[in-house]
Symmetry: C2
Subunit: 321 residues, 2 copies
């Protein structure tokens, strides 16, 4: 959590009066999610996550996020459902912040996902992509290629504090990605932040995708490229081709990739790496005092970026082109 | 939490194999407790708190803390029960740290406790004191008068960074408290950290005292003096005599104070104020990067300390001497 908002006793009671989920038995702040304040709320009606949206989330985007979760849950994509109040609305305000109550999703985020988990992830991701096809709201991806340069400019002057030469390397990368970024690939709603933290497994199966607060419209293959980065590198930085093949096989079993998507994968993965490198770099250089979650080291993604830059094609990932 | 330890998937499964509480459905880090890493653990057997004891807790003290919780729970003092494994032990190790699983206690810590809550607190505190009388383990209070000077010395050189003149003021206070600290008061097991954070209310009643990791043997009236500090000042620093009277009435309804305890209260309250001032000062000056909980402002307790120093006797608290 970036910030941790305290909820007063009366505020919580007032909030619950707007719902049909009973009265509060306990409400504990949980150390989950980098962007928002999250509470595990137990009421006489069950277990829920109460999320207060902090300043990084644009309130205007919340109807997209909550509507998407409703939409996907209605199509059997494993994701928690926003709870609607007596007035029908899922979005309201607590402690001066936009807030929503979401059904609690069981399951554990894996610290060491294996190849079979990657295969299940691939299949479920393809199902998410298909299920989103008739979702009518749209949200452009602010963190795609057009958004990287402003983010870079905000960190450029101090980038070399993190690694000598980083500013120059990123400048070169950005220029290459801006020049070569693929267009015309199949698009739709993507999760755009599908790290192991955001996938809850139960008995080896995916029980819930969570944290839809980067979801947007973009190329499906870019979502897959984010997963290649987040799931297929080992802690020592090595790329696990077995996991990548399983991830792809799971995905293609549900939604086969077009040739153009497969060919674009190395560049998309390189873009995904710079996207997380840039946000981590910014967070690293602008640490929030008292933040509940320590910023992640941006250099992990510099190593991934270099791997993708040096990859000649899908074959470098152990994938058949 | 001072530090937040990540628990691996296998480590959690291995841990649960040592208990009869089923298998893990979810395990979420919670933003509670300054000293340890706490997780809300849901298993097929119910809800639990899994605590990993971080470096501030002396492992040698854990049998005292866990044994005390067992003892008190067995005497109907509202407190969560440590879960014993198949081998009978409540204390074991996870991720290289001592760890215990504790029954989950419902209830909400109040952000704005009122006079009636203070009365219930007083009564329950007296019951805790009586129930501890036949607990056989002992733990001296390392944070009583003898422990304050070393703590002060660790912060003295930088104390004036927090408030000009603070080092000199604390030096004078310490000398006065060391010279006049009362002895011979009725003693026993005290909680020693009974802030509103550590008392869970449900339907206006106390459902659980939690966080026994400062519990020790000391004067009962010192525990009450800690509560006077923690429950009877308003956020603007003013002392609420109504709350103090209710707290005392609740306590004395169960365990009447001796005349010497009543007479010692202002000095005990002054000591309790410097105890929390000193630990907060140390934590303020030695912030841990990435800590999950921001250190509390020590100056809140400087104001309280001054209030107690200027109090002529119990009458200054609205109490009848």
């Amino acid at each position: 959590m970036a910030v941790y908002t305290e909820i007063g006793d009366d505020e919580l009671d007032d909030l619950l009066h707007q719902y049909d989920i009973g009265r509060a038995l306990s409400c504990k702040g949980i150390a989950e999610g980098v962007e928002n304040s999250n509470y595990l709320l137990h009421t006489t009606g069950g277990y829920f996550i109460l999320t207060l949206y902090e300043k990084r989330v644009n309130p205007a985007d919340l109807p997209f996020f909550l509507g998407l979760m409703d939409h996907l849950a209605g199509r059997q994509v494993p994701c928690p459902t926003p709870i609607h109040g007596r007035d029908g609305a899922a979005l309201r305000a607590v402690a001066g912040r936009p807030a929503a109550i979401i059904a609690f999703a069981e399951g554990r985020a894996l610290t060491k996902p294996g190849p079979d988990h990657c295969q299940r992830l691939g299949a479920a991701l393809a199902e998410l992509h298909l299920a989103g096809s008739d979702f009518t709201r749209e949200r452009p991806n602010a963190l795609s290629v057009g958004g990287w340069r402003p983010l870079f400019e905000a960190s450029r002057a101090r980038a070399d504090e993190v690694a000598p030469g980083l500013a120059a390397e990123l400048e070169g990368e950005l220029a290459a990605l801006e020049a070569g970024w693929p267009g015309g690939l199949p698009e739709g709603v993507i999760h755009a932040d599908l790290f192991p933290d955001n996938v809850l497994f139960l008995d080896g199966r995916i029980n819930a995708f969570i944290d839809f607060y980067f979801a947007c419209n973009d190329a499906f293959a870019y979502d897959l490229a984010i997963c290649l980065n987040a799931w297929c590198f080992e802690k020592d930085g090595s790329f696990n081709a077995t996991k990548a093949r399983k991830l792809m096989a799971g995905y293609q079993g549900v939604r086969p990739l077009e040739a153009a998507e497969m060919a674009a994968l190395p560049l998309l993965a390189r873009g995904a790496a710079i996207r997380f490198l840039l946000t981590r770099l910014y967070d690293w250089l602008n640490q929030i005092e008292g933040a509940l979650v320590k910023p992640k080291n941006p250099l992990e993604y510099l190593a991934k970026l270099r791997f993708h830059r040096d990859a000649g094609g899908p074959g470098a990932y152990g994938l058949d082109a």
